[in-house]
Every structure is written in C-alpha cells, then in structure tokens.
Amino acid sequence: MVSQAVSTAAARAVDARKTYGEGDAVVHALAGVTVSFPVGRFTAIMGPSGSGKSTLMQCVAGLDRLTSGSAFIGDTDISTLSKTDLALLRRDRLGFIFQQYNLIPSLNARENALLPLTLAGREPEQAWFDEIIATVGLGERLKNLPSQLSGGQQQRVAVARALVPRPDIVFADEPTGALDSRSGAEILTFMRRAVDDSGQTIVMVTHDPHAASYADNVLFLADGQIVDEMPEPTTDRVLDRMKRFEV
C-alpha cells in the first residue's frame, strides 16, 4: 500500500544510477533504484555497509547528482536544477540531520536552530518554535554554544533545526550513530512525534535495527539495489532480515 502512493510522494527516484570510478575500478553505488518516499511517513533505509544508503539519500536530497535516472522533490526534477537552485531548494524545502558536527560552533543553540530561517530571511513562527524546543527539551540551553552542549543535546538542536522551518522532507543520515542508546532513543522519539503530530515526512539512513523500528516502513538496500521492504517494522524482525545479508 505504501509503495503505491506515488501521487503523494514527497520525494522519489526513478531508475537512479550512480557510478564511481572507471574501467575495472568502477563501483555501482546505485544500480537502478526506483523508490518513492510518501508524504507524512517515516521511512528508514537499511543495508550492509557500502550498499549505497548514503548515496541514495544524498542524490534524492540534491546534495549529489545521479549518473543517470532522475530524482524528484515533490514534482521538481532536481537533476535539471542549477547549483544555486539546488541550494535554494534545500534551504526552503528540506531539512538535514547528520551523524555529528551538525552545528555552527560560533552560533548558540537558538541561532543554530533558526539558521535555515535566518538564511532565508523568514521570521520563525514563535508558537511552533517554542513547541519544538519544548519537545526536544532544550529550553534552558538555548543560549549555549555547541561546545557547551553534550553530543545528545547537540543532536537535539540539529533535530530542532531540521523541523523548525516545516520542510517538505527531512533527511537524516545515521542521526543516532554517535549517541548512546538513551540519547538515541530520545532523538528517535522526537522524530516519530513530528511525523505523528504534524505529518512531517522523514527519510532516515541507519545501521541500527532498533532505530529502524521507529519508522513506518523500512527499505533494504544491497549492492546498490532495493532488495526488500518491511512495513510496520519491529526491532527483532529487522534484525532477522539484516542477518540474512551476512550469509
């Protein structure tokens, strides 16, 4: 059911291919991936190391270009956009969370969270901002610089930054990869709530079966191709599926 909701896709890729290198050394990071990420859903991407998870996310998010095939954000074919247009698209319609070093060291937590809006010259909606800050529990830390925050707190700021502008879609590449399990669980809870409460679309790359269990749907990647998907995942089922790759 989920994979058929093409008309309401927040982002999608059609026969996406990405190759690195030439001749004998050629690597097919993506070998023809067709996928769509439905609006208002939390999608996780899993797969063994080197299977092309990050590549897929980066190409769909307009951080990198496909070798062939096309990628869409909503109805916009991003493979035709210029560098500047891509930057504007990212600023106005996308949110990002990386594994670490997400923040600008000289801006405090509040300024970091508001960065995309500041760059766009937009005013934050105060109520919405307060709500997110309350959700991620940063109230007292807003004036602190990143260097004065723990890794988990920094990651909450990053989540807030991704959510505050109400982007069409949030891309997260192993957002909990550098955190202990408790901080990781908190971050995942915030993301889940954003999907449930306000219909936020999220695409998350992860290695962690427990993290994947927070998603609505899990896509499995191997050797640059989508080999499986799992709606309503649980930690154990994902773990079982992953074990099969190792054989």
Binding site: L88, R90, I104, P105
Partner: protein
C-alpha cells in the same frame, strides 16, 4: 624523525605555500635591494678608478664643502703659473688640469633641440685622460671638439659635423672630430661631455684666463715623495694629496651615496622580512594546531615531546632553506624587474649587469632560514607540550585563551612605553619608550582583536548573518587574528608615523623659512657677467621692478673658502634682505670688511686675511657684521669698492638680485627663466625657493620611504591571504554545513570577504592610531627636549588614504580565499573531518 619531518613537509606542502611565499618575498626583497645597491656602489667606485686610477698626486680644493649653497669653491682656481710650477717639479711625468664650464648646443634646424652639457678641457695625457675615443680623433686645434656617445646620439652629431657651441664667452663654430665614452657609460658628466682642446678651452670655458680647477699628476717617483715636493707649491685654499689618498677620498665620497642607499634599502627589506616572520609564525601555528590530532597519535604511540618538537623544527628548517633559496632566485629576477621599471620611468641606474656576489646570496639564505626557524619554535614547543588525550579531544578549530599575565604584561608595556615616549628625559629613553609601546601593542594584539571584533559587530549588522559569522570567526581565535593583523599593523604604523611626523616637521620648517625675507630672484653668471644688456633685458620683463647687480668673487678668508661681494649697498637693501647686525653701511671704509655673523666666525674689530685666487692677499679689519639672512648667504662678506678692486681687480658684476611686483612672482618666473636660458652661464633662482625646495624634498623623502614600506605591506597581504585560506581549510565542514542548509555560495564568499575586511580593518585602525600617537608624542618630545615649537599637523588626507588602502587590501586579500571557500563540493565539504 628526519623521515617524519620530510613527510610533514611533503604532505602539508599546500599549507606551506603561503609560508614559502612570505619567505620568498622577504628574502627576495632583501637580495634584490642588495644586488641593486652593490651594482650602484661598484659602478660608482669603478668610475672613480677609471677616472683617477693613474693619478699619483693631486692638487685639489682644500675644503670644497666649506660654503653653503652654490658650490662657490668652484670659483677658486689655480693659475697656469701656479700649475706650471707644480708640474715642473722633478719626477712629474705627466699632468692633467681640470677645467669645466657649462656649454650648450643652440637649436639647429632639422635636428633635435638644444642641449646643455659640460665643457671639459681635453686631457692630452693618455694615462690621465678618463675618456676614451670610440671614433674619430682627439680635438687639437681651436674649433675642434669631441662629444660623448650619448650627446652624439641625442643632439644628432657625428665625426665631421659642424655645429655651433654656446659658451660663457659666446657662440663658436666647431667641428666634431671625435666621439668619446667613459668606461661603460657614455659620459663623465650627468648631461654630457663636450671636450675642448687646450687651444680653445680657456677662451671658451674660462673667459680667457689660463686657470684650472684642480691638477692631477702622474710621476715616476714615490707617491709620498711627490706629494711632499709639490706641497710647498700648493696655493692657499688648495691641498696636495697622494694619488692613493685622493682615490680613497673620491671613492669614499662617490661610493657613499651607494652605501647609504644600500643601508636604507636593506633596512626596508629587513622590515619586510620581520613582517614575514609574523606570517611564518602564524602559518606554523595554524598548521600545528590543525595537525594536533596527527601529532597526538604520534605521541600516543610513544613519540617523546622532544622528538615531536625536533621533527617540527626540522620541518621549519627545510621550509626555511627551501623558501630562502627560492627567495634568492626571486631576488635576482626582481633586480632585473626593478632596473627595468626604473629605466622605464627614466631613472637609469649607473653600471650595467648584475654582479651576483656570494655575500648577498649567503646573507639572504641565512636570514630567511634563521627567521623561519625562530618562527617555528614557539608552535613547536606548544605542540610538544600538548597531552595526547587533550589533542585527541580538540576539534579541528583551535581556540586559544589568554592568560591574565599576558593582559598585565601588555598593559604595563603600553603604559611604560607611552610614558617614556611622552616624558622620557633623553633621546634614548624616548626611543626605548617607542619600542616598549610597540611591543606592548603586539602583545596586546589578541585583546585588541577581541575589542575590535566587538566594535565591528554593530558595523557588520547590515550584512546580516554573513557579517555576524565573519565577526565571530575573527573573534574565535584572537591570537591568530592578532598575528595576522599585526603584520599589517607594522606597515600601517610606520607609514602613518613617517607621514604624520614628517609632515609636521615639514610644515614647521617651511613655515620658519617663509618667515625669512629674501630677494625674489637671484641671477648668477658662472664664468660670465651680468652685463648692461642682460640687465636691461631683465628689466623689460613685465612685473620686474628692479635689478641690482653686484660683484662677487670666491676668496679665502683666514684660509676658509668664502664669498666676497661689493656693490651699491642701499640699492641692494632695497631689493634684498641685507641687514647689519653690528655696525652699518657707513662703517665700510676702505681697508675694512663686513662678514656674516656666525658662531665662531670673526668678531667685530678682528683682523682677517683675505686671499684671492691669484694668491694676492690683504688684511682687513671687520668693521660690521651682517645678519645671517638668506640673502646674506649670497653676499658672503662685503667690502667697499676700492678694497674689492684692490684685491680682485675691476671685474664686471656676476650676481644680481631681482625684485618683482608682489604677487607677480609666478607670472614672471617663466619669462625670467626663459631669458636666463639663452645664456649657458646664467641661472635664475627663486629667492625663497629654499622653502619650496625643503618642502619638496620632504615630500619626496616621505613618499619614497612610504613606497619602500610598501614591501612590508605586500608581505602582510600574503599573511592575510594565508590565514584566511588556512582558516577556510580548517572550517570546510562548517562551511559545507552552512551551504547544505541553504547559504548560497555568494553569501559564503561575502562572509569570507567581510572577515578579511575586519582583520585588515583591525590592523589598519590600530596601526593608524599607534602611528598618529607616536608621531604626536615624538613631536611633543622634540619640542620638549630641543625647546622647539614644532606643532603637530595631522595629515588628514593621507591618513584617510592609508585607511582606504588598508581596507582595500583586506578585500584584495580575500579574493583567493573567498573563491576557495566554495570551490569544494557541498558533499565533500560536509564529509570532511
């Protein structure tokens, strides 16, 4: 460790580029200035050897620098009789008399226009003759001349050309029979040499008198013996020297210009190197900070602090040697460029080619290497002190904090320095104060950087987030910002100091000189006379009110070369500033003299012995003293007509004061000069020209010094480029992140430019403030100690110019780093570690 150091250099070569550029620039400037001045020195000294190499004894003016302006010593001459007595001394094999006077080529139809040159008595003794014939033969009979190669070209002459030569005695028809050169140069004289044979020289160049300005001898006996023998025959005002003494003196005085030039140029080059040291130090600091993690791994696997330190020092040494060697090569190229540029703007340096001496090469390499080595020491020590755990924890961006001790040290230095500068009791104390103040400001750099960033924050508001982040980056590492800005500060400080202090002294000097009255113009004839026709011509010029000629001769008074004048005193007083300090015009009876009042000079009532050029002498009583005005310098000493005639004979007037309508000076100037130009012996000089001359000399010196200080500013520019580039390298992840969340490349670049602007602004503002304060304090102290009253004049225009240039430099420096800041792919940037 050696391999480690090599790897360090190789893997970080990109980062070292700026260090290398700084060393190369500094060492390059140093060697280039040395090469250029060595060439000038050796060519000047070579000229002297060429000219006087065969002289065994010389009879020259005893004290050619005795009087003030106008070189009146030139007027004192040796008569042929005196010369003959000297040359007939046994052991003298050959002799050469020196006689020069201005000549000119009047305009000829179809040829390049007239040209003034120096007429010279042709020296028949081949060994004493400094000139060499390149074609034709030596001039012999009256009407034959030889011209130098340069003149031959510029006035379009060749062997066989018939030409008119204008001389003091009028115009003569002449035939060019030879073309000469002087060593590797065309002519011995600045504007060309016309050689005239003895048959005509005295008539053409010395109004018929057989006289010489100096006498050079070649002998077959020992130089010292020759000198002893001619000594008794040497007339008053002249001195006999051995050839060796003479050559040394000549070499000294001629080469002195070159040696001063060398010292001055090298001082500026060393300054550039010193500024370079800041850049080098900064680069190493940044590189070490960025590599702390790598160094920590080394430490973790067991490298001792000493090994790490040594490895980094070795890296510094390698870079220093490499940069210095390249610098010497760059210096060589720069020398050629410099010479070519000077040539293009019309300054032909004496000599040809460049002699690459071993000394400047070794000096350059040594200096560059030592400075680099010293600059790398502090960062190396800091790196060795870092604990491995600490280093592993540190993020890529290094942040330093500053101790209270530093704050206190800086404050103490600044206060002591400023105090010494303003209240020091001696020049040494004041100089030391200036040094302390300077060091204090350098030590206080990080605090200044922080404070400056705080001040810049509101200014950057209009630029939005970019402005905000730019200031943040400046303040993030105040130490690094300060070192970068300091390199610029040094240059700006010195430029401001030189300009402000120099302008103050200039304004004072010119003001003082303007207070002195003087005649409007002084007309002098060198070798001719101010005849009635000429007087009438000048008087006819619109705006000329009066012309008062007087007679003047060079004599010796008590053995000192001096001017002796005689004329209509009331008439002179009407047009010139001639005042009696003691006595009056009425006291000037026959047998008396009025001399200019001077410390240590003759007093009223004293008796002085006045000797003229033929050796006639007379003892006169000082009956009056002249006030030392500008015009009194022209007059020298004053006697009544009969006394003058008794000493010198009934000569025609050779000098005249000229009075023009007030306000007409500039208008009449052209007309007066045009008339003067028609005769080669006449020069017209503006009376209070001294003021203008002093003013223009000051301006020239200030500009030249500032131009040379530009060298250090160039190095500072490299420093800013360097710091920004490295800081961008270090922040590439952060910049990538900004771009991922939507900062457009244009804005990222603008951020880098603003950052550069703030750093340059810091250095410029601090430099200007320090420079203005130091200039003010210096003037204040000069006034205080020397009891002068030089006012401080603030050169507003120049200061603003420096400010604009400093900020412009900041924008210029940002060009490359700004482009580099967005060169990386967004994706690569955020994946960077």
């Amino acid at each position: 460790m050696r391999t480690l150091a090599w790897r360090g250099v190789r893997n970080n070569l990109g980062r070292y580029v700026a260090t290398l550029v700084a060393i190369i620039t500094g060492v390059g400037f140093f060697t280039a200035t040395t090469f250029v001045s060595d060439r000038v020195i050796s060519s000047l000294e070579g000229d002297v050897d060429q000219q006087y190499g065969n002289v065994d004894a010389a009879v020259v003016l005893a004290d050619s620098t005795a009087d003030l302006s106008g070189d009146p010593g030139k007027d004192l001459k040796l008569s042929a009789r005196q010369a003959d007595r000297i040359t007939s001394v046994p052991g003298v094999d050959g002799s050469a008399g020196l006689l020069t006077a201005p000549v000119a080529f009047p305009p000829r139809r179809g040829h390049p226009s007239a040209k003034a040159a120096t007429g010279r008595l042709w020296i028949d003794d081949a060994e004493l003759n400094p000139l060499e014939l390149t074609s034709g033969r030596a001039p012999k009979g009256a009407g034959e001349v030889a011209v130098d190669r340069g003149l031959a070209e510029s006035v379009d002459l060749k062997v066989g050309s018939r030409v008119k030569v204008a001389t003091l005695a009028g115009a003569f028809d002449a035939t060019v029979v030879g073309v000469t050169k002087f060593g590797s140069a065309d002519a011995l004289d600045q504007d060309g040499t016309v050689s005239v044979p003895a048959a005509a020289a005295f008539d053409w160049l010395n109004s018929g008198q057989r006289e010489y300005q100096a006498l050079y001898l070649r002998g077959s006996v020992d130089q010292a013996q020759l000198e002893r023998e001619i000594k008794p025959l040497t007339p008053e005002g002249y001195t006999a020297q051995t050839g060796e003494q003479f050559l040394t003196d000549q070499r000294e005085s001629t080469g002195a210009i070159g040696r001063y030039l060398k010292q001055a140029l090298q001082a500026f080059a060393l300054l550039a190197l010193f500024v370079g040291a800041f850049v080098i130090y900064n680069t190493f600091s940044v590189i070490v900070a960025q590599r702390l993690r790598e160094l920590a791994v080394l430490a973790a696997i067991g490298a001792t602090p000493k090994q790490i330190k040594r490895s980094l020092r070795l890296e510094g040494l390698i870079i220093g040697l490499l940069g210095s060697a390249l610098g010497v090569v760059a210096g060589l190229v720069l020398t050629f460029v410099l010479i070519a540029v000077l040539k293009a703007v019309g300054v032909e340096l004496p000599g040809s080619g460049i002699k690459v001496g071993l000394a400047p090469v070794v000096q350059g390499i040594l200096l560059g290497t030592v400075i680099t080595f010293l600059s790398v020491n502090i960062p190396a020590r800091r790196a060795a002190k870092t604990e491995p755990i600490e280093a592993l924890r540190i993020s890529a961006v290094d942040a330093t904090s500053f101790s209270r001790r530093r704050k206190i040290t800086a404050a103490v230095l600044v206060v002591l320095g400023a105090g010494g500068l303003v209240a020091g009791g001696s020049w040494a104390a004041i100089g030391f104060g200036a040094l302390l103040l300077f060091v204090g400001v350098i030590v206080a750099g990080p605090f200044i950087a922080l404070g400056g960033a705080r001040l810049a924050r509101p200014l950057m508001k209009p630029f939005g987030l970019e402005g905000r982040l730019a200031v943040d980056n400046v303040a993030r590492n105040p130490g690094r910002t300060a070192t970068t800005a300091n390199a610029l500060l040094i240059g700006v400080f010195l430029v401001t100091l030189v300009t402000a202090a120099g302008t103050s002294v200039k304004d004072f000097a010119v003001g003082e000189l303007k207070k002195l009255q003087s005649a409007d113009f002084i007309i002098t004839s060198e070798g001719g006379s101010i005849d009635p026709q000429l007087q009438a011509d000048f008087k006819r010029i619109d705006g000329v009110k009066a012309i008062t000629p007087f007679r003047r001769e060079t004599v010796t008074i008590d053995g000192k070369v001096a001017r002796l004048s005689s004329g209509d005193i009331p008439a002179i007083q009407k047009v010139a500033d001639l005042e009696f300090a003691r006595g009056s015009a009425a006291d000037l009876q026959p047998g008396t003299i009025a001399v200019t009042e001077a410390d240590g000079g003759p007093r009223l009532g004293a008796r002085v012995r006045v000797t003229d050029s033929t050796g006639k002498s007379q003892t006169l009583r000082v009956s009056a003293l002249l006030a030392p005005t500008i015009d009194a310098q022209q007059i020298g000493a004053l006697t009544a007509e009969p006394t003058f005639a008794g000493l010198v004979g009934r000569t025609a007037p050779t000098v005249a004061f000229l009075d023009v309508d007030s306000g007409a000076q500039t208008k009449t100037k052209d007309a007066i000069e045009a008339r003067a130009d028609q005769r080669p012996d006449i020069t017209a000089e503006e009376g209070n020209v001294t003021g203008q001359l002093v003013s223009s000399i000051f301006d020239f010196v200030i500009n030249a010094v500032n131009g040379l200080l530009g060298m250090s500013v160039i190095v500072a520019l490299i420093g800013i480029i360097n710091t920004l580039s490295l800081s961008i390298l270090e922040r590439r992840r952060e910049l990538g992140l900004l771009r991922v969340v939507g900062m457009l490349d244009g804005r990222v670049q603008r951020m880098v430019r603003l950052e550069s602007l703030v750093i340059a602004g810091l250095g410029t503002f601090a430099g200007i403030a320090l420079g203005l304060f130091s200039a003010w304090a210096l003037i204040f102290s000069i006034d205080r100690i020397a009891e002068a009253d030089i006012g401080f004049s603030l050169p507003i225009g120049q200061t603003l110019l420096v400010l604009v240039l400093g900020l412009g430099l900041g924008l210029l420096a940002a060009l490359i780093p700004a482009r580099r800041s967005t060169r990386l792919d967004v994706l690569e940037a955020i994946q960077a570690t």
